[in-house]
Symmetry: none
Protein backbone atom coordinates (compact mmCIF):
# COMPACT_ATOMS: atom_id res chain seq x y z
CA UNK A 1 0.00 0.00 0.00
CA UNK A 2 0.99 3.61 -0.34
CA UNK A 3 2.73 5.16 2.62
CA UNK A 4 0.75 8.33 2.29
CA UNK A 5 -2.29 9.47 0.37
CA UNK A 6 -1.20 12.12 -2.14
CA UNK A 7 -3.72 14.92 -2.57
CA UNK A 8 -3.98 17.58 -5.25
CA UNK A 9 -6.02 20.73 -4.52
CA UNK A 10 -7.91 22.49 -7.29
CA UNK A 11 -9.69 25.70 -6.35
CA UNK A 12 -9.49 29.21 -7.69
CA UNK A 13 -9.61 30.83 -4.28
CA UNK A 14 -6.36 31.04 -2.38
CA UNK A 15 -8.16 31.16 0.90
CA UNK A 16 -9.97 27.90 0.30
CA UNK A 17 -6.83 26.16 -0.92
CA UNK A 18 -4.95 27.28 2.15
CA UNK A 19 -7.71 26.03 4.41
CA UNK A 20 -7.84 22.69 2.66
CA UNK A 21 -4.06 22.40 2.75
CA UNK A 22 -3.96 22.96 6.49
CA UNK A 23 -6.63 20.37 7.09
CA UNK A 24 -5.03 17.77 4.85
CA UNK A 25 -1.45 18.32 5.95
CA UNK A 26 -2.35 18.15 9.62
CA UNK A 27 -3.69 14.65 9.10
CA UNK A 28 -1.23 11.78 9.40
CA UNK A 29 -1.10 9.75 6.23
CA UNK A 30 -2.26 12.58 4.01
CA UNK A 31 -0.09 15.03 2.10
CA UNK A 32 -0.74 17.77 -0.42
CA UNK A 33 1.42 17.30 -3.50
CA UNK A 34 0.20 20.30 -5.48
CA UNK A 35 -2.31 23.07 -5.98
CA UNK A 36 -4.10 24.33 -9.06
CA UNK A 37 -6.14 27.50 -9.50
CA UNK A 38 -8.12 26.38 -12.53
CA UNK A 39 -9.31 23.23 -14.24
CA UNK A 40 -6.66 23.19 -16.94
CA UNK A 41 -3.87 23.44 -14.41
CA UNK A 42 -5.53 20.71 -12.35
CA UNK A 43 -5.52 18.31 -15.28
CA UNK A 44 -1.92 18.92 -16.29
CA UNK A 45 -0.69 18.87 -12.71
CA UNK A 46 -2.56 15.64 -12.03
CA UNK A 47 -0.88 14.02 -15.02
CA UNK A 48 2.59 14.95 -13.88
CA UNK A 49 2.18 14.59 -10.12
CA UNK A 50 -0.07 11.52 -10.23
CA UNK A 51 -1.91 12.18 -6.95
CA UNK A 52 -4.20 9.61 -5.36
CA UNK A 53 -7.02 12.05 -4.80
CA UNK A 54 -7.98 15.38 -6.34
CA UNK A 55 -10.15 17.80 -4.38
CA UNK A 56 -11.95 19.60 -7.18
CA UNK A 57 -13.93 22.81 -6.95
CA UNK A 58 -16.82 23.06 -9.39
CA UNK A 59 -16.63 26.74 -10.25
CA UNK A 60 -13.25 27.60 -11.66
CA UNK A 61 -12.08 29.84 -14.50
CA UNK A 62 -11.25 28.50 -17.96
CA UNK A 63 -12.03 24.81 -17.44
CA UNK A 64 -14.59 24.07 -14.72
CA UNK A 65 -14.38 21.23 -12.26
CA UNK A 66 -16.79 19.00 -14.14
CA UNK A 67 -14.86 19.18 -17.38
CA UNK A 68 -11.59 18.68 -15.53
CA UNK A 69 -13.04 15.66 -13.77
CA UNK A 70 -14.16 14.19 -17.05
CA UNK A 71 -10.71 14.69 -18.52
CA UNK A 72 -8.99 13.16 -15.52
CA UNK A 73 -11.10 10.08 -14.99
CA UNK A 74 -11.04 9.07 -18.64
CA UNK A 75 -7.57 7.58 -18.41
CA UNK A 76 -6.69 4.40 -16.59
CA UNK A 77 -4.94 4.64 -13.27
CA UNK A 78 -6.60 7.99 -12.91
CA UNK A 79 -6.78 9.73 -9.56
CA UNK A 80 -10.00 9.65 -7.61
CA UNK A 81 -11.85 12.92 -7.71
CA UNK A 82 -13.83 14.45 -4.87
CA UNK A 83 -15.92 17.34 -6.09
CA UNK A 84 -16.29 20.10 -3.53
CA UNK A 85 -18.87 22.81 -3.90
CA UNK A 86 -20.32 25.67 -1.93
CA UNK A 87 -23.95 25.19 -2.68
CA UNK A 88 -26.11 22.40 -1.56
CA UNK A 89 -28.92 22.83 -4.02
CA UNK A 90 -26.77 21.89 -6.89
CA UNK A 91 -27.42 20.40 -10.26
CA UNK A 92 -23.73 19.67 -10.49
CA UNK A 93 -24.10 16.58 -8.35
CA UNK A 94 -25.44 14.50 -11.16
CA UNK A 95 -23.01 15.80 -13.74
CA UNK A 96 -20.08 15.37 -11.41
CA UNK A 97 -20.86 11.72 -10.83
CA UNK A 98 -21.50 11.25 -14.52
CA UNK A 99 -18.09 12.78 -15.18
CA UNK A 100 -16.52 10.13 -12.99
CA UNK A 101 -16.23 11.76 -9.60
CA UNK A 102 -15.98 9.36 -6.67
CA UNK A 103 -17.31 11.75 -4.08
CA UNK A 104 -19.26 14.91 -3.63
CA UNK A 105 -18.92 17.18 -0.61
CA UNK A 106 -19.91 20.60 0.61
CA UNK A 107 -17.33 23.19 1.55
CA UNK A 108 -19.11 23.61 4.83
CA UNK A 109 -18.23 20.02 5.71
CA UNK A 110 -16.25 19.58 8.89
CA UNK A 111 -12.55 18.87 8.69
CA UNK A 112 -12.97 15.29 9.81
CA UNK A 113 -15.63 14.69 7.17
CA UNK A 114 -13.27 15.96 4.55
CA UNK A 115 -10.49 13.72 5.76
CA UNK A 116 -12.86 10.80 5.90
CA UNK A 117 -13.97 11.44 2.35
CA UNK A 118 -10.38 11.48 1.13
CA UNK A 119 -9.59 8.20 2.82
CA UNK A 120 -12.76 6.59 1.55
CA UNK A 121 -12.27 7.46 -2.09
CA UNK A 122 -8.57 6.67 -1.90
CA UNK A 123 -9.60 3.18 -0.87
CA UNK A 124 -11.66 3.00 -4.06
CA UNK A 125 -15.02 3.48 -2.50
CA UNK A 126 -17.63 6.09 -3.27
CA UNK A 127 -19.15 8.67 -1.02
CA UNK A 128 -22.01 11.10 -1.20
CA UNK A 129 -23.33 13.41 1.45
CA UNK A 130 -27.00 13.04 2.24
CA UNK A 131 -28.22 16.15 0.48
CA UNK A 132 -26.45 15.01 -2.67
CA UNK A 133 -28.45 11.83 -2.65
CA UNK A 134 -31.68 13.72 -2.13
CA UNK A 135 -30.64 16.08 -4.88
CA UNK A 136 -30.15 13.17 -7.23
CA UNK A 137 -33.51 11.72 -6.38
CA UNK A 138 -35.21 15.10 -6.53
CA UNK A 139 -33.64 15.95 -9.86
CA UNK A 140 -35.18 12.83 -11.28
CA UNK A 141 -38.46 13.02 -9.43
CA UNK A 142 -39.21 16.70 -9.88
CA UNK A 143 -38.87 16.39 -13.60
CA UNK A 144 -41.75 13.98 -13.95
CA UNK A 145 -43.60 14.37 -10.74
CA UNK A 146 -46.61 12.16 -10.46
CA UNK A 147 -49.53 14.23 -9.17
CA UNK A 148 -50.42 13.01 -5.74
CA UNK A 149 -47.20 11.23 -4.92
CA UNK A 150 -46.33 14.01 -2.55
CA UNK A 151 -49.67 13.64 -0.82
CA UNK A 152 -48.87 10.13 0.39
CA UNK A 153 -48.75 9.72 4.15
CA UNK A 154 -45.71 8.21 5.83
CA UNK A 155 -47.36 4.83 6.09
CA UNK A 156 -48.62 4.90 2.54
CA UNK A 157 -45.08 5.71 1.47
CA UNK A 158 -43.81 2.68 3.37
CA UNK A 159 -46.38 0.52 1.64
CA UNK A 160 -45.54 1.89 -1.79
CA UNK A 161 -41.84 1.23 -1.24
CA UNK A 162 -42.61 -2.39 -0.39
CA UNK A 163 -45.00 -2.68 -3.33
CA UNK A 164 -42.14 -1.46 -5.49
CA UNK A 165 -40.06 -4.37 -4.23
CA UNK A 166 -42.62 -6.81 -5.52
CA UNK A 167 -44.14 -7.79 -2.18
CA UNK A 168 -47.72 -9.03 -1.90
CA UNK A 169 -50.22 -7.53 0.52
CA UNK A 170 -49.67 -10.38 2.95
CA UNK A 171 -45.88 -9.94 2.79
CA UNK A 172 -46.19 -6.21 3.30
CA UNK A 173 -48.43 -6.86 6.29
CA UNK A 174 -45.77 -9.17 7.73
CA UNK A 175 -42.98 -6.65 7.15
CA UNK A 176 -44.90 -3.78 8.70
CA UNK A 177 -46.36 -5.98 11.43
CA UNK A 178 -49.98 -5.05 10.74
CA UNK A 179 -53.02 -6.89 9.41
CA UNK A 180 -53.58 -7.59 5.74
CA UNK A 181 -56.78 -5.54 5.85
CA UNK A 182 -54.76 -2.53 6.95
CA UNK A 183 -52.38 -3.02 4.07
CA UNK A 184 -55.31 -3.27 1.67
CA UNK A 185 -56.57 0.07 2.92
CA UNK A 186 -53.18 1.71 2.43
CA UNK A 187 -52.75 0.15 -0.98
CA UNK A 188 -56.19 1.40 -1.98
CA UNK A 189 -55.31 4.90 -0.82
CA UNK A 190 -52.04 4.81 -2.73
CA UNK A 191 -53.83 3.71 -5.90
CA UNK A 192 -56.39 6.47 -5.52
CA UNK A 193 -53.83 9.19 -4.83
CA UNK A 194 -51.60 8.13 -7.68
CA UNK A 195 -54.47 7.62 -10.07
CA UNK A 196 -53.32 4.05 -10.58
CA UNK A 197 -55.67 1.22 -11.50
CA UNK A 198 -53.64 -1.56 -9.93
CA UNK A 199 -50.45 -2.08 -7.97
CA UNK A 200 -48.39 -2.49 -11.11
CA UNK A 201 -49.31 0.99 -12.31
CA UNK A 202 -48.50 2.33 -8.86
CA UNK A 203 -45.06 0.71 -8.98
CA UNK A 204 -44.48 2.15 -12.43
CA UNK A 205 -45.41 5.60 -11.12
CA UNK A 206 -43.05 5.08 -8.18
CA UNK A 207 -40.16 4.38 -10.54
CA UNK A 208 -41.02 7.08 -13.07
CA UNK A 209 -41.33 9.71 -10.37
CA UNK A 210 -38.08 8.75 -8.70
CA UNK A 211 -39.94 7.84 -5.52
CA UNK A 212 -37.93 4.65 -5.75
CA UNK A 213 -34.80 4.24 -7.83
CA UNK A 214 -33.27 1.30 -9.59
CA UNK A 215 -30.15 0.77 -7.53
Amino acid sequence: MSTSIRVLLADDEDLIRTGLRIIVESEPGLSVVGEAADGAAAVSLARSLRPDVVLMDVRMPAVDGIQATRALTAAQGAPKVVVVTTFENDDYVYEALLAGASGFLLKRARADELVQAIRVVAAGESLLFPAAIRSLVAARGAARAVPGIGRLTAREGDVLRLMARGLSNAEIAAELVVGTETVKTHVGNVLTKLGARDRTQAVVAAYESGFVSPR
Copy 2:
Protein backbone atom coordinates in the same frame (compact mmCIF):
# COMPACT_ATOMS: atom_id res chain seq x y z
CA MET B 1 -25.01 15.24 16.89
CA SER B 2 -25.39 11.96 18.71
CA THR B 3 -23.03 11.25 21.51
CA SER B 4 -22.24 7.79 20.25
CA ILE B 5 -23.09 5.71 17.21
CA ARG B 6 -25.15 2.72 18.35
CA VAL B 7 -24.32 -0.47 16.49
CA LEU B 8 -26.20 -3.77 16.30
CA LEU B 9 -24.31 -6.89 15.22
CA ALA B 10 -26.06 -9.64 13.26
CA ASP B 11 -24.02 -12.73 12.46
CA ASP B 12 -24.59 -16.38 13.21
CA GLU B 13 -20.98 -17.05 14.13
CA ASP B 14 -19.95 -16.18 17.65
CA LEU B 15 -16.36 -15.73 16.59
CA ILE B 16 -17.23 -13.12 14.02
CA ARG B 17 -19.51 -11.26 16.38
CA THR B 18 -16.82 -11.19 19.02
CA GLY B 19 -14.30 -9.87 16.56
CA LEU B 20 -16.67 -7.20 15.34
CA ARG B 21 -17.57 -6.25 18.89
CA ILE B 22 -13.95 -5.77 19.85
CA ILE B 23 -13.29 -3.61 16.82
CA VAL B 24 -16.38 -1.48 17.33
CA GLU B 25 -16.10 -1.11 21.09
CA SER B 26 -12.45 -0.13 20.93
CA GLU B 27 -13.36 2.81 18.77
CA PRO B 28 -14.33 6.04 20.53
CA GLY B 29 -17.80 7.18 19.59
CA LEU B 30 -18.98 3.70 18.67
CA SER B 31 -20.80 1.26 20.91
CA VAL B 32 -22.40 -2.14 20.41
CA VAL B 33 -25.95 -2.13 21.73
CA GLY B 34 -26.84 -5.69 20.87
CA GLU B 35 -26.05 -8.89 19.01
CA ALA B 36 -28.25 -11.21 16.96
CA ALA B 37 -27.48 -14.70 15.66
CA ASP B 38 -30.11 -14.77 12.93
CA GLY B 39 -32.13 -12.43 10.76
CA ALA B 40 -35.33 -12.66 12.75
CA ALA B 41 -33.57 -11.73 15.95
CA ALA B 42 -31.82 -8.90 14.15
CA VAL B 43 -35.12 -7.40 13.03
CA SER B 44 -36.83 -7.63 16.40
CA LEU B 45 -33.76 -6.40 18.27
CA ALA B 46 -33.38 -3.49 15.89
CA ARG B 47 -36.97 -2.49 16.50
CA SER B 48 -36.56 -2.46 20.26
CA LEU B 49 -32.99 -1.16 20.52
CA ARG B 50 -33.23 1.32 17.63
CA PRO B 51 -29.54 1.26 16.72
CA ASP B 52 -28.03 3.75 14.27
CA VAL B 53 -26.25 1.10 12.25
CA VAL B 54 -26.74 -2.63 11.79
CA LEU B 55 -23.82 -4.79 10.65
CA MET B 56 -25.63 -7.54 8.81
CA ASP B 57 -24.22 -10.86 7.68
CA VAL B 58 -25.76 -12.25 4.51
CA ARG B 59 -25.81 -15.94 5.32
CA MET B 60 -27.77 -16.60 8.47
CA PRO B 61 -30.24 -19.25 9.58
CA ALA B 62 -34.01 -18.74 9.40
CA VAL B 63 -34.15 -15.25 7.91
CA ASP B 64 -31.12 -14.29 5.85
CA GLY B 65 -29.48 -10.89 5.89
CA ILE B 66 -31.15 -9.71 2.72
CA GLN B 67 -34.65 -10.41 3.99
CA ALA B 68 -33.81 -8.86 7.33
CA THR B 69 -32.45 -5.78 5.58
CA ARG B 70 -35.61 -5.48 3.54
CA ALA B 71 -37.72 -5.73 6.67
CA LEU B 72 -35.65 -3.16 8.51
CA THR B 73 -35.34 -0.53 5.84
CA ALA B 74 -39.00 -0.57 4.92
CA ALA B 75 -40.05 1.75 7.71
CA GLN B 76 -39.02 5.34 7.93
CA GLY B 77 -36.44 6.31 10.51
CA ALA B 78 -34.96 2.89 10.01
CA PRO B 79 -31.37 2.09 10.98
CA LYS B 80 -28.71 2.14 8.30
CA VAL B 81 -27.63 -1.32 7.27
CA VAL B 82 -24.13 -2.35 6.27
CA VAL B 83 -24.12 -5.79 4.73
CA VAL B 84 -21.00 -7.77 5.46
CA THR B 85 -20.14 -10.88 3.51
CA THR B 86 -17.29 -13.31 3.08
CA PHE B 87 -17.27 -13.64 -0.67
CA GLU B 88 -16.42 -11.00 -3.17
CA ASN B 89 -17.93 -12.67 -6.19
CA ASP B 90 -21.36 -12.11 -4.92
CA ASP B 91 -24.76 -11.60 -6.41
CA TYR B 92 -25.85 -10.45 -2.99
CA VAL B 93 -24.42 -7.01 -3.66
CA TYR B 94 -27.25 -6.21 -5.94
CA GLU B 95 -29.94 -7.69 -3.79
CA ALA B 96 -28.57 -6.10 -0.65
CA LEU B 97 -28.70 -2.64 -2.14
CA LEU B 98 -32.12 -3.42 -3.56
CA ALA B 99 -33.20 -4.37 -0.08
CA GLY B 100 -32.13 -0.97 1.14
CA ALA B 101 -28.62 -1.50 2.49
CA SER B 102 -26.48 1.63 2.74
CA GLY B 103 -23.18 -0.15 2.54
CA PHE B 104 -21.56 -3.37 1.45
CA LEU B 105 -18.28 -4.65 2.84
CA LEU B 106 -16.14 -7.77 2.84
CA LYS B 107 -15.27 -9.55 6.06
CA ARG B 108 -11.67 -9.37 5.06
CA ALA B 109 -11.84 -5.58 5.35
CA ARG B 110 -9.42 -4.04 7.81
CA ALA B 111 -10.66 -2.80 11.14
CA ASP B 112 -10.25 0.83 10.18
CA GLU B 113 -12.23 0.27 6.99
CA LEU B 114 -15.03 -1.22 9.01
CA VAL B 115 -15.06 1.66 11.44
CA GLN B 116 -14.95 4.09 8.56
CA ALA B 117 -17.90 2.39 6.93
CA ILE B 118 -19.95 2.63 10.12
CA ARG B 119 -19.23 6.33 10.47
CA VAL B 120 -20.01 7.01 6.85
CA VAL B 121 -23.39 5.29 6.76
CA ALA B 122 -24.32 6.70 10.16
CA ALA B 123 -23.85 10.13 8.62
CA GLY B 124 -26.40 9.14 6.00
CA GLU B 125 -23.95 8.53 3.21
CA SER B 126 -23.48 5.42 1.15
CA LEU B 127 -20.45 3.25 0.79
CA LEU B 128 -19.41 0.41 -1.47
CA PHE B 129 -16.17 -1.43 -1.81
CA PRO B 130 -14.57 -1.33 -5.27
CA ALA B 131 -15.64 -4.76 -6.45
CA ALA B 132 -19.22 -3.97 -5.51
CA ILE B 133 -19.16 -0.89 -7.70
CA ARG B 134 -17.77 -2.84 -10.62
CA SER B 135 -20.40 -5.46 -10.06
CA LEU B 136 -23.15 -2.88 -10.13
CA VAL B 137 -21.81 -1.08 -13.14
CA ALA B 138 -21.43 -4.32 -15.01
CA ALA B 139 -24.91 -5.36 -14.03
CA ARG B 140 -26.34 -2.14 -15.34
CA GLY B 141 -24.45 -2.07 -18.57
CA ALA B 142 -25.65 -5.43 -19.70
CA ALA B 143 -29.20 -6.36 -18.87
CA ARG B 144 -27.97 -9.49 -17.15
CA ALA B 145 -28.62 -8.42 -13.59
CA VAL B 146 -31.78 -10.48 -13.54
CA PRO B 147 -31.06 -14.06 -14.52
CA GLY B 148 -33.26 -15.04 -17.40
CA ILE B 149 -34.07 -11.59 -18.69
CA GLY B 150 -31.74 -12.23 -21.58
CA ARG B 151 -33.62 -15.42 -22.41
CA LEU B 152 -36.83 -13.62 -23.21
CA THR B 153 -38.06 -14.00 -26.76
CA ALA B 154 -38.83 -10.95 -28.88
CA ARG B 155 -42.53 -11.22 -28.23
CA GLU B 156 -42.06 -11.78 -24.51
CA GLY B 157 -39.89 -8.68 -24.46
CA ASP B 158 -42.68 -6.70 -26.12
CA VAL B 159 -45.11 -7.94 -23.53
CA LEU B 160 -42.77 -7.11 -20.64
CA ARG B 161 -42.26 -3.58 -21.93
CA LEU B 162 -46.02 -3.05 -22.04
CA MET B 163 -46.42 -4.64 -18.62
CA ALA B 164 -43.86 -2.11 -17.38
CA ARG B 165 -46.11 0.68 -18.59
CA GLY B 166 -48.91 -0.57 -16.41
CA LEU B 167 -51.07 -2.13 -19.10
CA SER B 168 -53.48 -4.96 -18.33
CA ASN B 169 -53.50 -8.19 -20.29
CA ALA B 170 -56.49 -7.00 -22.33
CA GLU B 171 -54.75 -3.71 -23.13
CA ILE B 172 -51.57 -5.49 -24.13
CA ALA B 173 -53.60 -7.77 -26.38
CA ALA B 174 -55.18 -4.75 -28.06
CA GLU B 175 -51.80 -3.08 -28.43
CA LEU B 176 -50.18 -6.12 -29.99
CA VAL B 177 -53.30 -7.09 -31.93
CA VAL B 178 -53.52 -10.60 -30.54
CA GLY B 179 -55.92 -12.43 -28.26
CA THR B 180 -55.88 -12.08 -24.51
CA GLU B 181 -55.12 -15.78 -24.15
CA THR B 182 -51.97 -15.27 -26.16
CA VAL B 183 -50.93 -12.44 -23.88
CA LYS B 184 -51.58 -14.62 -20.87
CA THR B 185 -49.24 -17.23 -22.27
CA HIS B 186 -46.49 -14.69 -22.84
CA VAL B 187 -46.97 -13.16 -19.44
CA GLY B 188 -46.76 -16.59 -17.86
CA ASN B 189 -43.53 -17.31 -19.73
CA VAL B 190 -42.06 -13.98 -18.67
CA LEU B 191 -42.91 -14.66 -15.04
CA THR B 192 -41.34 -18.11 -15.22
CA LYS B 193 -38.15 -16.90 -16.90
CA LEU B 194 -37.68 -13.98 -14.54
CA GLY B 195 -38.54 -16.02 -11.48
CA ALA B 196 -41.30 -13.55 -10.72
CA ARG B 197 -44.47 -14.47 -8.86
CA ASP B 198 -46.70 -11.85 -10.40
CA ARG B 199 -46.58 -9.07 -12.96
CA THR B 200 -45.52 -6.51 -10.36
CA GLN B 201 -42.35 -8.44 -9.56
CA ALA B 202 -41.69 -8.77 -13.28
CA VAL B 203 -42.00 -5.01 -13.72
CA VAL B 204 -39.67 -4.44 -10.78
CA ALA B 205 -37.14 -6.78 -12.37
CA ALA B 206 -37.52 -4.93 -15.66
CA TYR B 207 -36.68 -1.63 -14.01
CA GLU B 208 -33.90 -2.97 -11.81
CA SER B 209 -32.20 -4.70 -14.69
CA GLY B 210 -32.37 -1.69 -16.93
CA PHE B 211 -34.59 -3.57 -19.38
CA VAL B 212 -36.80 -0.53 -19.16
CA SER B 213 -35.74 2.85 -17.80
CA PRO B 214 -37.58 5.62 -16.02
CA ARG B 215 -37.69 8.17 -18.81
